[in-house]
Symmetry: C2
Subunit: 219 residues, 2 copies
């Protein structure tokens, strides 16, 4: 696969261009920390945006779903799509309303997906997806059988045309606003995991594994 | 505004239809708990999905941004859009890989936006947006001046065609899998706020207000 020069005209960040990042390493770090994306596709000129989980292997994203899903039916036909991943990190409270902002890291990937049809690649893609969300879980679960594999579609999405946006740090006010008599600062936000909730029908002696007890997205 | 009968052909949930919710009250509750949406729009057949904040008043969503933003330039022309809000609530670990899931509440709103051009409505929309994200902050901030208002676009998005999807509760395994020897359960996830970080240039005696110290999205 030849490397497209980033940004393309379509991925060049227009708004707040100083927040734009185009290097693959930063993009991968964001994609690997997140696990929920918003997938955009078009049906009859109408955009649809659907939340779904994903996994990454090298320069490929994998998403999956029921073969009946509207999204995947469309994507199978090669409809263009957009995968966006957003990690929200804080509310930025400036002195002026205008300079209020959010701290976040986000990635936009544009391209066309291909349906993964080879049975071995499909199973491997599902393992990648599962391990991306919850490392260690795949080996502890009952593996997919033929019926389930048939009922699942997996799409491979090449990470070729992409951009990232990163905003971190304190509020930036206009110089004349620093004398305005109000508090300013950042309210940090993060996604946190609570204590695992045991299923009501657990077999005796089955305790929550470490990956469920200490779940975190920091890598 | 006449009430469209929900779901329309475009908002009928196809995948996991048992999780679909179409009542306005549930949709509003999800929209009011969230404050980050993923806005989808189409440029030359290519979908774009952009994270942005929003506010709600009655049956209207407001989003904003720089007048230079690619998204808003497009939307001003009446391009169809999709606003999706997702509240992630947990990882659902079933015995089988196939029945793994997530707990979440999400809303999809389809329609066309109109640019808010009346200055009074625009200022009020910005107040609604600000108060939606951080109630109490508007009155404590330096208000927008004419130059800033000019540099900001505000769009009104009618909440007319919409659907919600809600998945909550424990894992649901196939009956024969309940004897599979693994742990199953739910890892709850939530967005939590940390202690506010003071700006380095605070005026003496300015302390973080309660809305920053005890930030929460539960209403």
């Amino acid at each position: 696969m030849s490397e497209t020069q980033m940004p393309t005209a379509r991925t060049r960040v227009v708004r707040e261009a100083d927040r734009a990042v185009y290097d693959r390493e930063t993009v991968y770090r964001i994609l690997d920390e997140g696990f929920l994306c918003h997938a955009g596709f078009v049906v009859d000129g109408q955009p649809f945006v659907i939340p779904t989980s994903y996994g990454r292997k090298d320069a490929s994203l994998y998403i999956h779903g029921s073969a009946a899903s509207r999204m995947l039916r469309q994507l199978k036909d090669g409809v263009p799509f957009c995968i966006t991943v957003t990690l929200l990190e804080g509310l930025v409270l400036a002195r002026s309303i205008f300079n209020h902002s959010m701290n976040y890291r986000s990635v936009v990937v544009l391209g066309k997906a291909t349906l993964v049809e080879d049975p071995d690649e499909k199973l491997e893609a599902l393992r990648i997806l599962s391990e991306h969300i919850l490392p260690g879980r795949w080996a502890d679960s009952r593996q997919p059988n033929e019926r389930e594999l048939k009922a699942t579609s997996v799409l491979r999405v090449p990470i070729e045309e992409f951009s990232a946006k990163v905003r971190q740090g304190p509020a930036i006010d206009d110089e004349e606003d620093y004398s305005f008599p109000t508090w300013a600062g950042v309210v940090p936000l993060e996604m946190t995991a609570g204590a695992p909730i045991d299923d009501a029908r657990l077999l005796p002696g089955k305790e929550a594994p470490a990956y469920a007890k200490h779940y975190t997205r920091s890598r």
